[in-house]
Subunit: 478 residues, 2 copies
């Protein structure tokens, strides 16, 4: 007597990511009931055991857990491409645009970014933003899984656009308190919403952007509410300079003294952390979000993820933001992470394909505190999975023995465009290349329209004359 | 009275790559007659001047010169994914497969690679291979432009698969002479074929793989026949060790003494060249082919292209081979080149988007000796051009002012899948995503079939038990 299920995905090159490797099952299948996985195994076995309402034939496809993007700023997608190839990126290139991104522009960016990420197989998005109307609803409506962090800082409106490089930002405790209150209210509304698809974290933007007292207040709140803290840590020389000026300590030492280093912390970037500082943070149990593409473009730096993992830490991948990474695509991050770390170590054996695939799936899930729900394909977990077309010329051929080629080709040869079908919590969000839960052309048109309005406001703001890239424009290089 | 032309491409975001920058023309147009460009300019202007048989509306598209891949080994595409994440890549991972790639497998790989490259906007392919039946015909038939280099070496059949790491390869002058004769015969048949679309170079595989006398013989032949020399130079510690053992000189010094350093030389990789050696080679007028992805994976090294260009040298991009880069896609190479060099210099201003776009187009064309024919869109040049869909979510929005976002987004956000239409020598090879000059599914099926046969031969060859990746297979990591 076979058991009734909603969906059976069959005949896949199945990578469950169970165990210590990639958990490959040839001619594999996944049975799904409601939002969860009922079973994984061979197609023959599951065809006998289960009677599905819908059968998805994955012949010629790799089936993997949905990819996890632990750190994004989706609102900046609306200004994709305005800031890169410059020093002092945040102040010299992004800030003049950032101050003109209205809530409606931010929302258009968020929708665009969810669409882009979903099409490239990302099913869990860790977004970081000042809340604005419609932010969480955009993720809820698109059907994706989200880990949302409302930004907490004590910076006055306008941010750092008017400041000289290196000048200490003025901190306003009232601004900080209001951000904390807003974050708490947001979390009370959204943590666990949409049948658990939407969860939240608390997010001091950085230790340099808030007072010591308010940073401690956030930590007490996180402990009380049992929330993780998602914070930029050692994010570039800008932050370290601010920390030394204001607190006379580098960030890792400061956080250690404050009792901030524990397994509730998702530390983002660690751009300027030494290997020793990274190891210190890893040994505390804190987790790392590694944004290879973004930090490569913005700083020309490979963060110490290798040292962090060697010290036993968990690393998740993040795509950061499109004004200074230009794409939000975990295939891109897997490839860049593997390559950048080989280069940093001058060793081709560092960060092989299977390790970065784990960072994008099961290790990433654990790093963001969702390891019991997502990141691998196994019975009881959420049915978040992707089908990747291996018949694309750039993923051909598919060899099984003596060397199986699929994982290295996905990591080094894939682009994300080969993802054709995506399920989140058992629901098909994209089928055979068509996004079902979002209206693609409307979302792109809305982003274009909002972006043009942002650009007009920037053009009318005298501050834009300081932008580093105007020289490149004048020279005909853009 | 308007002039009749075959094709008019209109309403493009046109990047001509004329001049010193990217040569942007808003609402631009290109008129094409036969194989050549008749004019470029504004759509309004060209619509008045020309009466086309066919009009291609490029609204919402970027139009660029076709991309140039200066260095490939297309035959290895058939073993994509069997060799990466290992030390001593060539001997420990590729060689056991390479010796079982038959001529028909090589041809299947070449066709696959041409297809993959064409779909990602590559119009000129610089291939390097031992000639086998159908090699040149594959490029001729696909309609792409090719710069073909028949491999010259004096290595005995079986190559280096049976040697210990570090052991001096035996050189056989008869093998060397035969390779020279074959190369000369190939060049006499193919140089200038297909209305000039197919041209050839002479290719000693590396200075370590042939005697000094025969290397000099190739140089005299190149001078006599007015051909460029395309050679791997300082290609990893393997080569340098061989050079020191055999000739007691590092490669650049050896080549300088031999009179090999001049503007006829396309020096590939320079993996192990110091900045000073790179500058020495650049100042001689020799050109560099930079394979960022491949050398990143194989060696964990960023070759000294920055130093080469600072010394005034011309640099072209190359994708090398799919067993150790895993894809042959110049969008990938542009992105990796920009990012790797920023990281190497720890400077985000190094190799901005526009510079790597020039390496993939006009600078690359000059580097491979075709600067008068391709690499920019201007009257009289060959009509090799690509249309890139800017409406893809990952390339949205398109902003024009104060900062124009298109080039950075193509380089950092594009993947090559956004290329929809490709023309080579005025002929449409791909239209709206459909390849017209090749049968995509047949080519993939043929590559799959040939690859499986190669894998079976490898499995039957005891030498495969030495392959480094077998450990990863056993551990469930692949």
């Amino acid at each position: 007597m076979s058991e009734k299920v909603d969906t059976l995905v069959t005949h896949a090159h199945l990578f469950t990511l169970q165990g210590d490797g990639v958990g490959y099952i040839p001619d594999g299948a996944v049975a799904i009931q409601g939002t969860r996985i009922s079973a994984v195994g061979s197609t023959t076995d599951l065809m006998t055991r289960f009677q599905p309402k819908e059968m998805i034939d994955a012949s010629g496809f790799a089936v993997l857990p949905g990819l996890i993007d632990a750190h994004m700023h989706t609102s900046w997608a609306v200004v994709r491409g305005v800031a890169q190839d410059v020093s002092n990126w945040m102040q010299a290139a992004l800030a003049p645009y950032a101050r003109h991104v209205t809530p409606s522009a931010a929302l258009a960016g968020t929708r665009l970014n969810i669409l882009e990420a979903l099409k490239a197989g990302t099913t869990t998005l860790g977004d970081f933003s000042k809340p604005y109307p419609g932010w969480a609803e955009a993720f809820e409506g698109a059907g994706v899984r989200a880990r949302l962090t409302p930004t907490i800082n004590a910076l006055q409106t306008g941010g750092m656009a008017g400041l000289k490089i290196g000048e200490l930002y003025p901190l306003d405790p009232d601004v900080g308190q209001q951000a904390i209150d807003t974050a708490l209210a947001f979390t009370q509304e959204w943590h666990g919403a949409a049948d658990g698809r939407i969860t939240t974290m608390l997010g001091p933007q950085g230790p340099d952007m808030i007072s010591r007292d308010q940073l401690l207040q956030v930590k007490r709140l996180a402990d009380k509410e049992n929330l993780m803290i998602h914070m930029h840590v050692a994010q570039g020389d800008r932050e370290i300079n601010q920390m030394l000026k204001r607190f006379e300590q580098r960030t890792p030492e400061y956080l250690k003294e404050l009792g901030y280093l524990d397994d509730q912390l998702l530390a983002v970037h660690l751009t300027e952390a030494t290997d020793e500082e990274a190891a210190l943070i890893a040994r505390s149990g804190a987790r790392m979000a590694l944004c290879s593409g973004s930090i490569g473009i913005i700083d020309g730096i490979v963060p110490p993820a290798y040292a962090f993992r060697e010290a036993g830490g968990l690393v998740a991948l993040g795509s950061d933001q499109a004004a200074g990474n230009n794409c939000n695509n975990i295939f891109n991050e897997m490839k860049l992470t593997a390559l950048f770390n080989k280069i940093k170590a001058r060793d081709p054996e560092v960060m092989p394909a299977w390790e970065v695939l784990r960072m994008a799936t099961i290790e990433g899930a654990r790093a963001i505190g969702l390891g019991d729900q997502i990141g691998s394909l196994e019975a009881g977990k959420q049915a978040d999975l992707i089908l990747v077309d291996l018949s694309a010329p750039n993923l051909t051929p598919v060899l099984d023995a003596p060397i199986r080629t699929i994982v290295p080709n996905l990591v080094y040869g894939g682009s994300g465009h080969e993802v054709k079908t995506v399920l989140v919590a058992g629901r098909v969000l994209m089928r055979e290349g068509e996004v079902l839960s979002m209206h693609e052309s409307n979302i792109c048109a809305e982003a274009q329209s909002e972006a043009e309005k942002v650009a007009q406001r920037v053009a009318a703001d005298p501050i834009h004359n300081n932008m580093a890239l105007l020289t490149a424009m004048k020279k005909g290089q853009m």
